[in-house]
């Protein structure tokens, strides 16, 4: 049993140990395996095959297990680390300690958007990106996407509104569900209903790899998803009688049902069911 802390409460030593563990994972090649895995399981809701990670009901449990696997890999390097969370409703400034020299480094510079501070700056010699999306190898960020179509981070009110929805997910269990906690948090824009929100919006706000198909290339990915995972806990606590949906197969035979993962359907690549992931109290807790 270990604790996932708010990143703003980490000590200097905790930050250093986490950064060091991530860099070691990168050097071993394991980190990039996680990047590739995320890309592999990010299946669109127009594809006629199972989609465990995005545009789907199992968005929360799939990422919970994905984070657990990443955390296990980190802990093999340093048993004392865990994945902290970034509450972007609170730490919503480019000057947050999250982006400081001693942690994740800051925004990209003008022009090429290259991150030049912290351990993940290309010049520091320990971090390169480029898993097939762009031709550059330095980490980039573009906070708030200034210019033609800027984005802001979601607010506490945005989170509160999503948490109020008492239904976990609705048919057709994809990216165009207008109701249900899952897609409110996942945050797909739906024409005429709402714009891009919450989870998706944070990916956009950071920019660089975070906005693209290789989003875990920026280590902030893990802190963002740790917070998303915490929001699932908060929703369950707020709605103790609400179940994970879809439930048993015959109960909801909608057109997408074959490609989404119900409560007892084993999710690839780990063959773990959403049911097994509902309660993580024996493994970790949030502080």
């Amino acid at each position: 049993m270990y604790t996932r802390k708010n990143q703003r409460d980490l000590t200097r030593t905790e930050k250093r140990r986490l950064v060091d563990a991530i860099l070691k994972l990168k050097r071993s090649g394991r980190y990039d395996d996680f990047v590739v895995m995320h890309r592999e399981y990010y299946v669109m809701d127009t594809e006629r095959r199972p989609r465990p990670a995005h545009m789907t009901s199992s968005f929360f449990p799939w990422h919970r297990q994905y984070l657990l696997e990443f955390e296990k890999a980190l802990q093999r390097v340093d048993a004392g680390v865990s994945v902290p969370y970034w509450d972007w409703t609170q730490d919503d400034r480019p000057t947050s300690s999250l982006w400081a020299e001693d942690f994740l480094g800051g925004n990209g510079r003008q022009g090429d958007r290259r991150v030049t501070t912290g351990a993940f700056a290309y010049e520091a010699g320990n971090w390169s990106v480029g898993r097939g999306v762009t031709d550059e190898h330095y980490l980039t960020r573009n906070f708030g996407r200034p210019g033609r179509d800027p984005v802001s981070l979601p607010t506490k009110n945005d989170v509160a509104r999503a948490l109020k929805d008492p239904v976990y997910d609705t048919e057709p269990w994809n990216s165009v569900c207008t109701e249900g906690f899952r897609n409110r948090i996942e945050g797909w824009g739906i024409r005429g209903v709402r714009t891009v929100g919450l989870h998706n919006r944070v990916h956009q706000w950071v920019g660089g790899p975070m906005a693209g198909a290789a989003s875990p290339e920026d280590p902030v990915f893990w802190l963002h998803h740790s917070y998303i995972d915490l929001l699932w806990d908060r929703w369950r606590k707020a709605h103790p009688k609400s179940a994970y949906l879809p439930g048993r197969k015959p109960a909801s035979p909608g057109p997408d049902r074959d490609y989404v993962f119900g409560l007892d359907d084993a999710m690839p690549p780990w063959s773990v069911t959403p049911r097994k992931l509902l309660d993580h109290g024996k493994t970790y807790r949030y502080a």
């Binding site: 590739v36 890309r39 592999e40 990010y42 299946v43 669109m44 809701d45 127009t46 594809e47 006629r48 545009m55 022009g111 090429d112 958007r113 480029g130 898993r131 097939g132 999306v133 762009t134 031709d135 550059e136 980039t140 573009n142 996407r145 210019g147 033609r148 179509d149 609705t170 048919e171 057709p172 994809n174 990216s175 165009v176 569900c177 207008t178 109701e179 945050g187 797909w188 824009g189 739906i190 024409r191 005429g192 209903v193 891009v196 989870h199 998706n200 919006r201 990916h203 956009q204 920019g207 906005a211 693209g212 198909a213 989003s215 909608g254 057109p255 997408d256």
Partner: protein
């Protein structure tokens, strides 16, 4: 996932060689944003929680629904979306096609991997958490997101 393959012929875009880079600015767009609504929505309309309704009828089989070539922020963007459903195709085939549409975007000659959501909007490898009703908007958004970077060389695509 694999990069969207290049389409063999059949489009109305002139060969790249005939286009002087930087010498053209006009977009060639056939069809409208509204014409890009997915065949899939028709399939799902009854059972699915509906996405906002189509504004125009779905294009006929074999037609190019969108085609453009322009300079945008100093980058050459080109795209084409073709409906390749043969006449008389069964509904089931149409779903297949909707899932793998004949859509292609190139930025400075390099292919941008494009996907489609259930509401028919497009997203790309570069901007992966937001989607757009047209390929042109998808291409421009990708250029915005790329900044100074170029797309990866096709051989660098891992999946």
């Amino acid at each position: 996932m694999s990069p969207t393959p290049a389409k063999p012929g059949g489009t109305r875009i002139p060969s790249r060689r005939t286009v002087l880079r930087g010498a053209f600015t006009a977009a060639v767009v056939t069809g409208t944003a509204g014409a890009l609504l997915p065949l899939l929505d028709h399939e799902r309309a009854a059972a699915a929680r509906p996405a906002p309704a189509p504004e125009a009828p779905a294009p006929g089989p074999g037609s190019t629904t969108e085609e453009f070539a322009e300079m945008y922020r100093g980058r050459e963007i080109r795209g084409t979306a073709t409906v390749v459903v043969p006449a008389g195709a069964r509904d089931d085939d149409r779903v297949m096609v909707a899932a793998e549409p004949g859509s292609e975007i190139r930025i400075d000659g390099r292919p941008l991997h494009v996907m489609r959501r259930a509401d028919g909007t497009y997203l790309s490898d570069v901007r992966h958490y937001e989607s757009y009703p047209t390929l042109l908007e998808t291409a421009r958004a990708a250029v915005d997101e790329l900044g100074a970077a170029g797309l990866a060389h096709p051989a660098a695509h891992r999946m």
